[in-house]
């Protein structure tokens, strides 16, 4: 089984978010970048398939040379090889069209991408890949088992979960649950050393236009200070929630 894991290179979840160029661009100054958490759950599941079922795992990112440390980390975690499509990820559609080319050329059976990235939160790349390629697609996937060309998956739904059956080739929108938090792998020294010798192939992008553009960013208005209520005066809280906030 050939697995492709799509990796987004995103600001660490604790990053302060600021903008430059008249609030038109994200300010990367001092920001630590990581593998998008939803992608990391998918990568770890892919490595499980590699160890248990002999799959090969390729990781791919659409981005500039500055994203290579993130791909190297994925290699250190255990991916067999990496691909970088050398283009700025202009929008979700642009990224999906680039990835679709990689998938067609590499004949992957299973493609795992996080259900959304924690930077632009578009939540569209896995679905658009499925739409472009006509492959089967399970989003918000919390468990995945593959047997030959058959797949069983759990999908999170509002208020519960659903078990679905489908077949390869398959696109998965991954999230926590594909593996548990405690199963995430921290690269060890051997992994880091081996990663240096693994292939990281750079591909030039195919011609494609973005369909959306973030023209300006805004930060939420500063919040007024919390109203503290004495623990012995709970009636005041109820009164505030009823009369002032009007939520009960």
């Amino acid at each position: 089984m050939k697995i492709l894991v799509c990796i987004s290179h995103v600001p660490d979840t604790t990053s302060k978010i600021n903008f430059t160029s008249g609030d038109a661009e994200f300010d990367t100054n001092g920001v630590q970048f990581v593998i998008n958490p939803n992608d990391e759950f998918g990568l770890t599941r892919a490595i499980w398939f590699q160890e248990q079922q002999g799959a090969t795992v390729t990781v791919v990112n659409v981005g500039g040379p500055d994203t290579e440390p993130t791909l190297r980390k994925a290699l250190a975690i255990g991916a067999n090889e990496a691909i970088r499509v050398n283009a700025a990820p202009k929008d979700g559609f642009f990224v999906a069209t680039q990835l679709a080319e990689v998938i067609k050329a590499g004949n992957y059976d299973l493609v795992i991408a996080g259900k959304e990235s924690l930077d632009y939160n578009g939540g569209m790349v896995p679905g658009m890949l499925a739409g472009i390629l006509g492959y089967n697609f399970v989003n918000s996937c919390t468990d995945l088992k593959i047997d030959g060309t058959s797949a069983m998956a759990s999908r999170e739904i509002d208020g519960g979960k659903e078990i679905v059956s489908t077949s390869l080739p398959l696109i998965i929108g991954g999230q926590k649950g594909l593996v548990e938090e405690k199963d995430l792998k921290i690269p060890n020294m051997r992994g880091i050393m081996t990663a240096r010798t693994k292939a990281l192939n750079v591909l030039e992008p195919v011609s494609s236009e973005a369909t959306t553009k973030a023209v300006k960013f805004e930060k939420p208005a500063p919040k007024s200070a919390v109203k503290l209520i004495n623990a012995d005066n709970l009636d005041e809280l109820i009164s505030l929630l009823h009369n002032e906030a009007k939520v009960i």
């Binding site: 918000s140 059956s165 939520v247």
Partner: protein, 323 residues
């Protein structure tokens, strides 16, 4: 040129509240475009309630094969309805199901797509919307550059606006093929009779401050009085005290509710990112330095084991006198 919305129903065949919010929003946008609102419903026999929120026409799809949500098939239905009505703007809500099918709808219609849209379009020409990004730490003004556009509206970002209309009801038979059902639902596990985080107006959430799963009765009792859903922080779900489906935060479920009550949750930046779209936030924590106090509207410093039962009792009394 009508605006098309997908009015989502629950498995019991009743409209979800988000369907009415979407209709309210669509009506307002339609007014500025001088056009009408058309809704698509699936297996919902009585669509008349949509007329309260300004929907002009409904395309009713009835098909046993669509009993379970199947993203590809539902996307195909929306696509065919959009083409039939020559629609340039498709609006979806932000439920798990709608977010699942939205990119499929966009690709099928050669449309651009923006998710997490909050508020009315910033500009109609060029078409720009405001959406949340960076896990609620910022907004992005996003331009959609194709002729056909798909938006998903963030929950609770617009609200319900009543606007009576005359509703024309029409049966619509979408042509579906086997490929639409290549992902087959085998079983659904859903706690019945429980308010879900996605549907709730109030969410009561517990953190590690509650010391163990055996104390969750505190959270559940308070939630029961408020008709609220229960939720938890990431450490609580990682420790296995509560199921994944209750984990809210950046890597868990997003919460955009009217009232969010956090008990014994310190307020790590990842937790706040996931719940920050909630309108009113209340924190109960014994540590006055807990970061949650910086983002909350109301706070009580003190012991949850003392405060929460008393608050529950008082709210019970309040509800009895005010219902």
């Amino acid at each position: 040129m009508s605006i098309l919305i997908y009015a989502e129903s629950s498995s019991e065949g009743k409209f979800k509240k988000v369907a009415f919010e979407l209709a309210s929003y669509a009506k307002k946008v339609a007014e500025s475009m001088n056009t009408t609102v058309t809704a698509v419903t699936v297996n919902n026999a009585d669509a008349s309630e949509l007329s309260k929120y300004g929907v002009d026409k409904v395309l009713k799809v009835s098909n046993d094969k669509l009993k379970n949500f199947t993203a590809k098939a539902y996307a195909d239905v929306i696509k065919q309805a959009a083409e039939k009505e020559n629609v340039k703007l498709v609006l979806l809500s932000s439920t798990t199901d709608s977010l699942y099918m939205a990119p499929l709808v966009a690709v099928a219609l050669n449309a651009s797509f923006a998710s997490n849209v909050v508020g009315l379009p910033v500009s109609m020409s060029p078409f720009q919307v405001k959406r949340t990004a960076f896990s609620n730490k910022a907004f992005a003004i996003t331009e959609l550059e194709t002729e056909v556009k798909v938006l998903s509206l963030a929950k609770n970002s617009y609200g319900l606006v009543e606007n009576a209309s005359t509703l024309a009801q029409e049966d619509f038979a979408a042509a579906l093929n086997d490929g639409d059902f290549s992902v087959k639902v085998e079983s659904v596990e859903k706690a019945s009779g429980k308010v879900t985080i996605a549907d709730a107006d109030v969410v009561v959430s517990g953190g590690r401050g509650l010391k163990g799963p055996e104390n969750w009765g505190l959270v559940e009792d308070l939630a029961a009085v408020l008709g609220a859903a229960t939720a938890c922080s990431k450490p609580v779900s990682d420790l296995g005290w509560r199921p994944h489906s209750e984990h809210v935060g950046q890597t868990g479920k997003p919460v955009a509710t009217n009232l969010y009550i956090a008990i014994g949750i310190s307020g790590a930046i990842q937790h706040i990112a996931g719940i920050n779209s909630s309108k009113v936030k209340v924190v109960i924590n014994s540590d006055p330095e807990a970061p949650f106090f910086k983002v909350a509207d109301y706070g009580i410093v003190g012991d949850a084991f003392d405060i929460v039962p008393r608050l529950t009792a008082k709210l019970k009394e309040f509800k009895a006198n005010n219902s």
